[in-house]
């Protein structure tokens, strides 16, 4: 009986030996980086000066190389960059466009030769808005794929949960889909979306411009009943009151609610009693539609709405009741391809190249697209230091970047690194895309950098 076991052990050993022999061949490749030639001094093109549609490809000089850094996602033929977010969960209807935007950009860039002689390896990971999935995806992206940076980073609770790790890993995060206070504590987040506090200020500014001075405004907030909804409502209240307007109350809508009769009753009586003349809206496009349909049902069609960036989705206007949506605005910091911007043609082309025809008219798509473009620029700028790593990329990100007009000029040279522009958007019926009510400059005053509300 023992003999059989002995035989088995021998076989196993033999197998292991053979496997080991084979394994040796494989394992030799990722050896220590050879001391490559010192990085060429040939400067990368000045980002600001780069011509719009194809930022690097004309110049992309063959001699401009950086050593491989497999631990930071830079291999001999690829640069790995990750995206985390919700592709099939409850917020997929906005976040998936963001991923599509980045993917479209990288498809285009790879078609045009990539960067530094390498192709972008874009790795989107779906967390279904679930913290446990996000933990796994983060591990995969940072420890297995060893990405050099993240473009996009799921919901706010996921930002919260990953913040210590992102800091430890020195991992730059470009363009998370929302700016929350916790991101402003870290040195790794490069937001190109305005902070909730700024968005609330912007909303107040827009309201003021509409009703003839903020002091005439009587505002009612409607928020999704999640922490960020409370947060946005608190900012709006702060902004409106600071300007001398009246903030009546915040109505909450449960996530997944399909009708809002009770909220509308309260809104109606507030309109009747207190003369509410503006509504601010927080939530996903789905929740926004529910509120708008509810307003249409009870006939509140003459009170304009302004919502946060989640509301600035095409479906709000294409699917919502026209009598309400024609007075609805959504705040966002990006311009879509139908606006007269440099990147218009490129966004459209890249979208169809990646198989996402028509999505170039979506603001979240533009956001993702810009994330990719900024990453591309930063990579090339970081390469100038002779080393492409998370650290050098982080340093490279602390500067200003070309935006091809998709958003206002980015300047992350001073902390905090977040966008200082935004506008109120609505649908342009002619093109099917989003159009800003006023240029970014119109709202520039709203960006006062005041935020951080303590509650409790």
């Amino acid at each position: 009986m023992l003999n059989r076991w002995l035989k088995l052990a021998v076989v196993v050993f033999a197998f292991a030996l053979i496997a080991a022999a084979c394994g040796n061949d494989d394992d030799d490749t990722p050896a220590a980086p050879e001391p490559t030639a010192a990085p060429t001094e040939a400067p990368a093109p000045e980002p600001e000066a780069t011509e719009a549609p194809a930022p690097a490809e004309e110049e992309a000089p063959a001699e401009m190389t950086v050593p491989d850094n497999p631990d930071n996602g830079v291999t001999s033929d690829s640069i790995r960059v990750g995206w985390m977010g919700d592709l099939t969960g409850p917020t997929a209807s906005s976040q998936s466009f963001n991923s599509h935007g980045s993917e479209a950009y990288f498809e285009c860039a790879n078609r045009d030769g990539g960067a530094l002689g390498r192709m972008f390896d874009y790795l989107p990971e779906d967390d279904q808005f679930n913290a446990d999935n996000a933990a796994i995806n983060f591990t995969k992206l940072t420890e297995d794929d060893k990405v050099i940076a993240l473009v996009g980073l799921g919901g706010s609770h996921i930002s919260t949960q990953l913040q210590p790790d992102i800091e430890t890993l020195n991992l730059p995060v470009i363009g998370p889909p929302q700016t929350i206070d916790i991101q402003l504590e870290g040195d790794q987040y490069f937001n190109n979306l305005a902070h909730y506090g700024d968005q609330a200020d912007l909303a107040a500014g827009h309201i003021g411009a509409t009703v003839g001075g903020i002091e005439n405004a009587v505002v009612m907030g409607i928020s999704l009943e999640v922490p960020s909804g409370t947060e946005f409502a608190a900012y709006v209240e702060q902004s409106v009151i600071k300007g001398g307007g009246t903030y009546v109350n915040t109505l909450y809508v449960a996530p997944g609610a399909t009708e809002v009769t009770a909220q509308m009753v309260e809104l109606q009586s507030a309109i009747d009693d207190q003369g509410v003349n503006y509504v601010t809206l927080h939530g996903s496009p789905g929740a926004g539609l529910v509120v708008m349909q509810g307003m249409a049902d009870v006939g509140i069609t003459d009170v304009p709405i302004i919502g946060i960036h989640g509301i600035a989705a095409n479906s709000i206007w294409t699917e919502g009741p026209p009598e309400v949506s024609d007075e609805t605005f959504g705040i966002h910091s990006f311009l879509t391809a139908n606006n007269d911007i440099e990147a218009s043609a490129m966004m459209e082309e890249c979208a169809s190249l990646a198989g996402y025809d028509g999505e170039h008219l979506n603001l979240n798509f533009a956001h993702g697209f810009l994330n990719g473009y900024v990453f591309h620029q930063a990579v090339e700028r970081a390469a100038e230091t002779g080393e492409l790593s998370r650290e050098s990329l982080t340093e490279a990100l602390k500067g200003s970047f070309d935006t091809m007009g998709i958003t206002c000029p980015i300047d992350w040279s001073a902390f905090p690194y977040h966008s200082q522009c935004g506008a109120a958007f609505s649908l342009d019926a002619a093109s099917g895309g989003m159009l800003a009510a006023n240029p970014f400059a119109f709202y520039a005053d709203s960006f006062d950098g005041e935020y951080g509300i303590e509650i409790g």
Partner: protein, 302 residues
């Protein structure tokens, strides 16, 4: 402010509006509860996938009535036909093999079905939300300062009609009689030459048609058609239980009662109280009368 209460108001028109909103919501709950009751009554299955079935109905309605732009009646016919076939598929493909399995296993297999439906809808319709349907009469009128939508009245009518039809069907048709017999005692029914398999298949088909009707109706009142509308399945549980899981008429009463209670909780206590209050009502009914207000009571002997 641990438990922040909303502002109480004594304004009668507000309460009237809440009542009307509650009844409108309750009518939808009744449609869903009717689907639960149909399946539970004859097959003893708690169908956790009913919300998904309803969602399927709503999306199919989008396809047939909006995208394909079929004539309303033709479109509805096609919709219900597709749902009926789908019901047969669910029975013959899956549920048939589950006869005799444990209660929880059967509950969970419906969960598996729900997951599959969700995935398929995501694949074929994508995550973007759609506008509500607008094929039934739109518009509204005022009663004592409160708005009543025409659609709500249509829904009331359709729900009442469905219950009446089911009642007549169960009372006066042979198949209905056989379904009731199977619900009472499957073994005796089988011994009498009633094919339980066929009856179950018909039940699933009927429930699915009901979900199709429900999806069509719900598609007219929900704010947006997206994947979150499947939650209506869970939210209608209290309605089904309060009415009694075995009573068709009970599902209407349960639906209306729960709808109104929810709406008042929403209006007077705040939206976060909605589900806790609804489920608490259900809980109290369960403790006081475990078979619901109209459910039948089975004598248990040792």
């Amino acid at each position: 402010m641990l438990l922040a209460f909303g502002n109480f108001t004594a304004d009668p028109s507000v309460n009237l509006q809440l009542l009307i909103g509650g009844l409108a919501l309750g009518a939808i709950y009744a449609v869903v509860a009717l689907g639960f009751v149909l399946v539970y009554k004859s097959t003893d299955v708690l169908n956790l996938a009913h919300g998904e079935f309803l969602m399927l109905g709503a999306y199919f309605a989008l396809t047939f009535l909006i995208s394909e732009n079929l004539n309303f009646f033709l479109g509805v016919f096609v919709l219900l036909l597709v749902m009926l076939v789908f019901g047969l598929v669910v029975h013959y493909g899956i549920m048939r093999r589950m006869v005799g399995q444990g209660f929880f296993a059967i509950v969970l297999i419906t969960l598996g079905i729900a997951t599959i439906i969700r995935a398929l809808l995501l694949i074929f319709y994508g995550p973007t939300e759609r506008a509500r349907l607008d094929l039934l009469p739109q518009g509204s009128f005022e009663v004592g300062g409160a708005t009543v939508r025409h659609v709500d009245l249509v829904i009331f009518g359709v729900v009442a009609l469905c219950v009446l039809l089911f009642f007549l069907f169960f009372k006066y048709t042979r198949l209905g009689l056989h379904m009731r017999a199977v619900a009472d005692d499957i073994e005796a029914a089988a011994a009498m030459g009633i094919d339980p398999d066929k009856v179950y298949a018909m039940t699933w088909a009927a429930a699915m048609v009901m979900a199709g009707v429900g999806g069509l109706l719900f598609g007219h009142v929900t704010g947006a058609i997206d994947r979150s509308i499947e939650a209506i399945g869970l939210r209608a549980f209290p309605a089904a239980v309060v009415g009694g899981l075995t009573s068709l008429g009970g599902s209407i009463v349960g639906g209306l009662v729960v709808g109104v209670i929810e709406q008042f909780a929403n209006g007077h206590l705040g939206t976060k109280w909605r589900e806790p209050v609804a489920f608490s009502v259900m809980f109290v009914v369960l403790l006081v009368r475990p078979t619901g207000l109209w459910g039948r009571k089975d004598l248990e002997r040792v």
